[in-house]
Chain length 188, copies 2
DNA sequence: TAGCACATGTAACTCGTTACATGATTTG
DNA sequence: CAAATCATGTAACGAGTTACATGTGCTA
């Protein structure tokens, strides 16, 4: 049984054949708003998937000095992916370093606390801007597919929409927090 | 330098002295919507914090068969916590199994896909209900403190507010997804 | 009298990150 | 000619989960 990382790789390969290097690239930023992995994790996992007969590779010639191994799904791999997708997901462990800091924010100097929150707010703004660019790309490149749940574009767009919504709500929450901090201690 | 887990424990001890067992209990559910740990992680970490002179313990007698070690912050521990709080947090790795499934949702049978999303929606509803109960407890027990950023209650309430907002947005996103899935493939 | 809550620890394992290792081709 | 990109792997480490280990007092 593959790990979550294994299913992430199967999910990418279900869309198009790729080399280990290309998978590693894909697993950092673009897909990275809901999963990520470094190349040192990807290569062993690919070998595992292959020994489980869920993927196969063939050597193609490419730019690098090494063999370029292009991987693609086997029918068994495709089945394993589709079965895993509809099983309920484990509840997220919910580890968030920023929230952990907020929980102890009362111990910090007020001015520094405010800085922390406004900085975080800016980061959410940057992420939001990037997601909005991606959304424009969808509208440009696949306007009809993004409304059709049977397409890979729809699935990708659905995850993007969650990212957009998440960043917007995070910004609103930061705004509320700054407001509260600016109001300061109430001595009533 | 303590790990995030270490700072989580310091954050709890800054509020009140506790035993390792009590810390372990606290690190599962109630604080658990932004951090969690099992007791097998807590005990070694406490020993580490103590050897770094950030916490101290004294043995008190309690119900169990073992020694009850009650831990509390040292002044150095309090300083370390306040310093860490205002340092910018690392961007969350953002691993979300459910989103990973959604990314490959297009490979699944439509009816099963719908089931998956509605189930997830229900889970978010349950979490929301629990958070709303907690919010009522704040209103009941600490109505004035929750508006004063210098109190521990405010900090806890701020994290709770983020949980509430997160669940509400997640439910709205699930609603959108189900709507899209019900509309089905568009053959235009 | 069986099971649960209390109470503290260790060991084995999985998952993920960072660093090590190699080396060709393209770009500034 | 130095640096980045391409391209694939291994090794060491840290964080987290699950299982192992022990033993008391209370409750159904």
């Amino acid at each position: 049984m593959p790990s979550n990382l294994g299913y992430a790789l199967l999910g990418l390969l279900a869309r198009a054949p790729r080399t280990g290097y290309q998978l590693s690239q894909a697993m950092r930023e673009p897909i990275g708003f809901f999963w990520s992995a470094s190349h040192s994790q990807v290569y062993p996992e690919l070998a595992g998937l292959e020994s489980a007969r869920l993927v196969r590779h063939r050597v193609v010639d490419g730019p690098g000095p090494r063999e370029n191994k292009q991987y693609r799904l086997t029918p068994a791999g495709r089945r394993a992916l589709a079965d895993w997708v509809v099983e309920p997901a484990a509840p997220p462990s919910g580890r968030d370093e920023f929230l952990l800091k907020i929980y102890s924010l009362w111990t910090a100097e007020p001015a520094r606390a405010r800085d922390l929150v406004t900085k975080q707010r800016e980061q959410h703004h940057e992420m939001l801007a990037r997601y909005q660019e991606m959304e424009q790309e969808f509208v440009r490149d696949a306007p009809s597919e993004m409304a059709d749940p049977s397409t890979r574009q729809f699935s990708a767009y659905a995850t993007l929409r969650r990212g957009l919504s998440f960043e917007r709500h995070a910004i609103a929450w930061c705004d509320w927090l700054v407001e509260q901090l600016d109001a300061g201690p109430r001595r009533s």
